[in-house]
């Protein structure tokens, strides 16, 4: 679980620094919906997020991975298991 916590923390930082969300990283709840009514990200934000994840983790995400973009929990879970599978 520790790796997943680290990933969540990194994603929170990405959302604030790269996507410029107007809040502190710790204020972004891992269960909060990323798109729609939650944090309200849009298509351009998702591309920026995908680019950042690729840069940090070498994982390529695309439209097929939409279900994993529900919230930071689901996203970090996917990233963590992808990293584990790559070992």
């Amino acid at each position: 679980m520790k790796l997943q916590e680290e990933v969540i923390a990194n994603l929170q930082t990405i959302l604030v620094t790269k996507l410029r969300l107007p809040m502190q990283p710790s204020e972004i709840e891992p269960g909060m919906e990323l798109f729609n009514s939650g944090l309200g990200l849009d298509s351009v934000d998702s591309l920026e997020l995908i680019a950042a994840i690729h840069e940090d983790y070498g994982i390529e995400l695309n439209a097929e991975h939409t279900p994993f973009f529900r919230n930071l929990n689901t996203l970090s879970e996917y990233i963590t298991s992808s990293l584990a599978a790559a070992l």
Partner: protein
């Protein structure tokens, strides 16, 4: 006013992946030739494959002037197509009044390779060339054409990204129908640039193979090129015995006001543009035989565009094809290149195909898959739908002899709202107080350069931080001033008002900082490393798009980039638009940012004061050798008389006339005589129906650079004669600095406030005594104010405002 003149096309020019001239372009296109090839690897500088519609490597121009070596590829492509079009038209400019010949060019990025070169040198610690700086902005292109042909009518650069080429053609027709020009050279150009490639790559919008519009629809392929039309009034063409190729019957321009990159999924903005074009052309949808689509190949566009087509046209009555399938998406040149193809199609009565088809049979429309089809059609349409939701639709007619154009009476135009943001404040009352505070020799502090709008300030205006986080500085400045204007005017932006409100924005240097940041990413880490969020902010029309999205402004949306005078020019264009009854309300704005990048650009031109400290030289003091670079924005609500009076609007002033002239000036230099300014002023006087003696005051453009200030005064000396010494001249840049297009718009706002306030504050020059008294105008204040501006490169603009004493008005 729109006169009854018909606009006809008498010359065509083109260069793109499918040919270096309009005939070869047509022949290759009708044969369905694919011009989209694997991109030359050195262009991307990386191990990335990409598809691109490259034009010929070496552009062969008629002359071989030394100046060509200094021009960016974008301008060279433009000049090539312009030369062909002008030659084709047979126009002999030596036998025409060159003041009645205008140039309008569209571009997405201007001279990006010059920007790349400059940035590479900067990062490498090398000396920067002023020529690179001059080639960067969008407003270089049209100027080159005007200089090449020694033209002195208005010179305009349309910066509406993917719709710029089409909008230039619409703008050209308006110049003719508003009586401003007899002949216009109009079109668009864009050359290959890492910036655009990297940008669309970052947005994952590029197809992995040559694009397949309306079929596989998996993305776009980019391309480069230029398309140019010679457009003139029908009587002018016939008068000189020119062969008429087609008539431009009408156009429609709208704004989605939806999202910065994605089109409105229901296609409503596009439908509105198409319907406006049909209405102006006096046609029903069924009469359009061929439609040249925007057809980029992205799933979002192709879906939205088909929805729009279904709403207006019956599939069995129209053929639709996408030229982008053959030459790629040529951005600012697209609308113009596609207009060339559409006119050729009318001439030859053949319909070019959409190639790379071979999949989608779901649509009922005939997309002319892969093979050209014969046709029999009198009317054709060409559509372009840009980033930020700018939609442009053009209609062409094969024959011009039986089309009658409606002539409309003019509307009076009033300024009914002002919003601004400057180093002297963003609140009108505070601005007015600060500007008129007695101040003589105080040096300006460092605060003078900035006018940044903090997100918290915008939040207080109802714009959420979640929204502003994506906006760049330029957009925030514009948004703040736009909000102010809407609020000040008291306009209710309900759905109906929103559709009948236009927006025209002028900017000299656009989002220079965002462009630099994005380029830095590409140069540092490669073409695939650009930020998807940053790229949409690098187009000059992003700020206008953001304002329209935020305030739901769905009418005509245009961004012009003509240098410093852009703000004033946007106000002139808006005045015409309301006067011609295209919209009841148009928001007219000028905006420019201060940033390290802007500072660097002007510094390289050695335009900034070399006296060291950040202080302003007294304008007309003739001691300064440069100016202080600052930022700012002003938005003015321009409204028709009917609309303003019926809703009891408060009127600041009436706009009654304007003039624009051009006299090419060597890069970075000033023409010491400034005679083109005389012409602009006289045109404004003539249009307003006034005499020179009616001008009570001037809000001028002096900025502390003695060469500029001197030029301005010389012009007034000639135009006003002995009276010149007495006319109060207000030089607001003495307080506000050189904020370029932002401040040229503030100048007009300032004049409106002067008239409305009835005050006569101390001017920077001239006496305070009222010149002559007319008992019918008994107010203490000024009655008529002239506002002037100039742009590096040689553009001069003037506008006249008059007081509205008989109308309802309150001190704001």
């Amino acid at each position: 006013m729109r006169n009854g003149k018909q606009c006809v096309v008498t010359g065509l020019g083109a260069i793109c992946a499918n040919g270096a001239d309009a005939e070869v372009f047509w022949n290759n296109s009708i044969q369905g030739q694919n011009g989209i090839q694997l991109i030359s690897p050195e262009k991307l500088g990386r191990d990335i494959t990409g598809w691109y519609g490259e034009a010929e490597e070496v552009i062969s121009l008629a002359g071989n002037g030394r100046e060509y070596r200094r021009m960016d590829r974008t301008s060279l492509l433009c000049l090539k197509a312009a030369e062909e079009a002008v030659t084709h038209s047979g126009a002999d400019f030596s036998r025409m009044d060159r003041q009645r010949i205008s140039v309008v060019m569209g571009s997405c990025t201007g001279g990006p390779s010059s920007a790349e070169r400059m940035l590479t040198r900067l990062l490498g610690g090398k000396r920067l060339s002023p020529y690179d700086v001059l080639n960067i902005p969008i407003h270089a292109t049209a100027g080159h054409i005007a200089r090449h042909y020694s033209l002195s009518g208005s010179v305009t650069n349309i910066a509406n990204a993917c719709a710029a080429g089409a909008m230039s053609i619409a703008y050209a027709c308006d110049l003719i129908r508003y009586g401003q020009a007899d002949l216009v050279i109009a079109g668009g150009a864009d050359a290959f640039a890492k910036l655009q490639f990297g940008g669309f790559y970052a947005l994952k919008a590029l197809d992995a193979s040559p694009c397949s519009p309306f079929s596989r629809s998996e993305g776009i392929s980019l391309g480069e090129g230029a398309g140019v039309l010679v457009i003139e009034s029908r009587e002018h063409a016939i008068g000189r015995g020119a062969k008429i190729l087609a008539e431009v019957l009408g156009y429609g321009i709208t704004s989605d006001a939806y999202h910065i990159t994605a089109p409105r999924p229901d296609g409503e903005g596009q439908i509105a543009a198409i319907r406006l074009a049909l209405e102006e052309a006096g046609l029903a949808g069924a009469e359009i035989g061929y439609l040249n689509a925007h057809g980029t190949g992205t799933p979002l566009n192709d879906t939205a565009e088909q929805k729009a087509l279904e709403a207006v046209f019956a599939p069995e009555e129209i053929a639709v094809s996408s030229t982008k399938s053959m030459i790629g998406h040529c951005l600012g040149a697209a609308g113009a290149l596609e207009a060339v193809i559409t006119i050729q199609a009318l001439k030859h009565q053949q319909i070019p195909p959409t190639i790379h088809s071979g999949g989608n049979k779901q649509s009922r429309f005939n997309f002319v898959p892969d093979t050209a089809q014969p046709g029999s059609f009198e009317y054709a349409m060409s559509n372009s739908f840009a980033f930020g939701g700018n939609n442009a639709s053009l209609i062409f007619a094969k024959n011009s002899y039986n089309n009658v154009k409606e002539s409309l009476n003019k509307q009076r135009v009033y300024i009914t709202g002002i919003g601004l943001i400057t180093s002297q404040g963003g609140d009108i009352a505070a601005y007015w107080k600060n500007m008129n505070d007695a101040d003589t020799e105080e040096a300006m502090g460092m605060e003078a350069t900035g006018a940044l709008v903090p997100d918290s300030r915008l939040a207080a205006e109802g714009i959420s931080p979640a929204y502003t986080r994506r906006m760049d500085r330029l957009s925030k400045l514009l948004l703040f001033s736009g909000l102010g204007a809407i609020r000040d005017s008291g306009l209710e932006m309900d759905e109906q008002q929103s559709q009948d409100t236009g927006l025209i924005v002028g900017t000299s240097d656009g989002p220079a900082d965002e462009i630099r940041s994005f380029l830095e990413q590409l140069l540092a880490k490669g073409v695939q490393a650009g930020s998807p969020m940053l790229f949409p902010n690098t187009v000059y029309n992003a700020a206008a798009a953001q304002l329209s999205i935020s305030q739901r402004i769905q009418g005509c949306n245009m961004t012009v980039s003509n240098g410093i005078a852009s703000g004033l020019d946007a106000i002139c264009d808006s005045f015409e638009m309301v006067r011609a009854r295209r919209h009841q309300v148009v928001l007219a704005a000028g905006v420019d940012e201060y940033s390290d990048t802007a500072h660097l650009l002007y510094d390289t031109l050695q335009a900034l004061g070399r006296h060291g400290e950040a202080s302003l030289s007294k304008p007309y003091g003739f001691t300064g050798d440069g100016f202080l670079l600052t930022e700012g924005a002003a938005t003015l609500a321009l409204e028709s008389e009917d609309h303003a009076i019926s809703r009891g609007a408060c009127l600041y002033a009436e706009i009654t006339g304007y003039g624009r002239s051009y006299q090419f000036c060597a890069p970075g230099k000033i023409d010491p005589e400034g005679t083109a300014l005389d012409l602009a002023i006289l045109q404004a006087i003539a249009m307003s129906g006034l005499c020179l003696k009616d001008i009570d005051a001037v809000v001028g453009f002096a900025n502390g650079d003695s060469a500029i200030d001197r030029m301005e005064l010389r012009s007034y000396g000639r135009v006003f004669g002995r009276r010149a010494e007495d006319i109060p001249v207000y030089a607001i840049k003495s307080r506000l600095g050189e904020g370029r297009a932002g401040i040229s718009a503030v100048q007009v706002a300032h004049a409106a406030m002067l008239l409305h306030s009835g005050e006569r504050p101390a001017p920077q020059r001239g006496s305070l005594q009222p010149s002559g008294t007319d008992s019918s105008r008994s107010s203490k204040g000024f009655n008529t104010i002239l506002v002037t501006s100039f742009s590096f490169g040689g553009g001069f603009s003037a506008i006249i405002l008059e007081q509205t004493p008989d109308r309802r008005g309150e001190q704001s």
